[in-house]
């Protein structure tokens, strides 16, 4: 085996190695920007936003504070998504030291209502469980935020 052939083999192998590394990186790159909205889903989402949610009997109409300093306050679900927190832009403003400025929000997807924690300090609890992802709630499900308890009402 001549010196030159060995030299070429060496280079060819290093090239293969680096082609692999660069292809892997290019897959990662396309993956980073490749998170796309599937068209059917996106279209449905748009359509859902334009049409007003169909009001049916037995559906919740407002979110009410059941316990805590602001007990009795409520907000209509027509303005969803509702922001809950201590900040002035919140739909339900709570005077509760354990509540973050922008604490959680309640939003709809079709017929389902769900509550989502917005990275609050003390967390949002549905029942006794601290939620880590958007969680569906129905009529009467108790959502605890700080010392305040909220629920959906008809």
């Amino acid at each position: 085996m001549s010196e030159l052939t060995l030299f070429l083999i060496r280079f060819a192998y290093l090239a293969v190695l680096w082609i692999f590394v660069l292809s892997a990186i290019s897959v990662i790159r396309s993956d980073m920007f490749g998170a796309r909205i599937p068209e059917a889903r996106a279209a449905r989402k748009k359509a859902g936003k334009q049409a007003k949610p169909v009001r049916r009997r037995g559906q919740p109409t407002h979110l009410a504070v059941v316990e805590g300093a602001n007990a009795g306050e409520q907000a209509a679900l027509d303005d969803a998504p509702l922001l809950i927190g201590r900040g002035s832009d919140a739909a339900i403003r709570l005077d509760d030291d354990y509540v973050s400025t922008r604490h959680a929000r309640v939003a709809a997807s079709g017929d389902q209502w769900y509550v989502e924690d917005l990275g609050s300090t003390n967390g949002t609890y549905v029942g006794s469980v601290r939620i880590t992802q958007p969680t569906t709630i129905s009529l009467g499900t108790q959502v605890r935020i700080g010392k305040t308890i909220l629920e959906l009402r008809k």
């Binding site: 030299f7 290093l14 293969v16 190695l17 599937p38």
Partner: protein, 467 residues
Amino acid sequence: MSQTGALMGFVHRRRRGAELFLLVLALAVGIGAYAAVGLGVDGEVPVDIVGYGGWLAALVLVAHFTLRFAAPYADPVLLPVVAALNGLGLAVIHRLDLAKEAAGKPHDYAQQQLIWMTLGVALFVGTVALVRDHRVLQRFTYTSGLGAVVLLLLPLVPGLGYRNFGAQIWIRVGPFSFQPGELAKVLLVVAVAGYLVLHRDALALAGRRLLFLDLPRGRDLGPILMMWGLSLGILVFQRDLGSSLLFFGLFLVMLYVATERAGWPVVGLLLFSAGALAAYQLFGHVRNRVNIWLDPMAYIDQTPGSGQLVEGLFGMGWGGLIGRGFGEGRPDRIPVAESDFIIAAIGEELGLTGVMAVLLLYGLIVERALRTALICRDGFGKLVATGLAAVFALQVFVVVGGVTGLIPLTGLTTPFLSYGGSSLVANWVIIALVARISDQARRPPPDLSPEAAGTGDDDATQVVKLR
């Protein structure tokens, strides 16, 4: 942990086709290395290349189709990178086998490594197929913690454990020897993640502020002191510097990620320095390692000396930028090069160019695992992925740093490259777990719109498999 990603309606693609494409390239890296070794050493392509390549391709494809069916959204880059590293490792071990054969001391480490790789892929398939949801692992928090401690203690049992290269970390059952510590690190990640996800509020919020540091409360120091004790125990009773460093570092990383408080790493580093200083004063082998690190050339001819390290440094120096080429170097001059010093053998025959590619591949594995942790929706998955990434990062740093003379040399295997069944098998399990978590994390959230709800079933509640 904001969950906006799930609400904005974008989803990750499956990318299984991209994975297959990368796997073909990865096979080219593995089988190409095998062919290049044959060409360089014997002047001809090895006769068994078809059988060898076929076996490698079959293993990789089995793993690929398992992901396709059992975890379709898993990260597409992980498996190919691992396959390439494993293939390259096999070829380099084969190269060292050939060198030993020429020297008249034949052994067949490559063959054994291929058998271990087969077992590793089997465990990968088993883990991906059996663990359908990583969250079930959270229930085994304390079980796996106990399992890890038992595994770590096994080598100290008289009659079962034995000492090799100065470290008592092996057990022997019949003809098989195994390092239980390698599997213990996987169990430990699960245990620590399960513990921290429950207790991180107490660890993160309580405490007092000193200067610009939030110091933790005294009574919360329990777990970190326990972990410190465990690491020191490994150091003292098993004389294994590398594992002790790995376990403690792993715990610190996970604690810091879980609590977001700089106080923990500071406390940890102080404890580490105290432990390291004490070990330096008390143990001859630790002092030895440090002296060798400070001046390798002074200890070449002594036993225990720096012969291995110096040969490795010479090899890498001789390799230079593009290496000698397979078969043209003398990596067999390094004692037990197929194990801890495989990166020096690669540096000698593939040069800095090859070593940088390998390090970049490790970087990609760590990056993918951390990315998985970022997009994962539950705290436990985040912590497990971070922990597994930290295992890889620390292990590569410690062993490559040691071999290149950046830090004192401690014995650890180079993941997927080094000869050693326990490490290879454990690393395949780690990759299976990361693939499973990334599948969960990248899978689009269940469709909540009324059309999809169809029969009126409550689709929004995700049922976590109960058994």
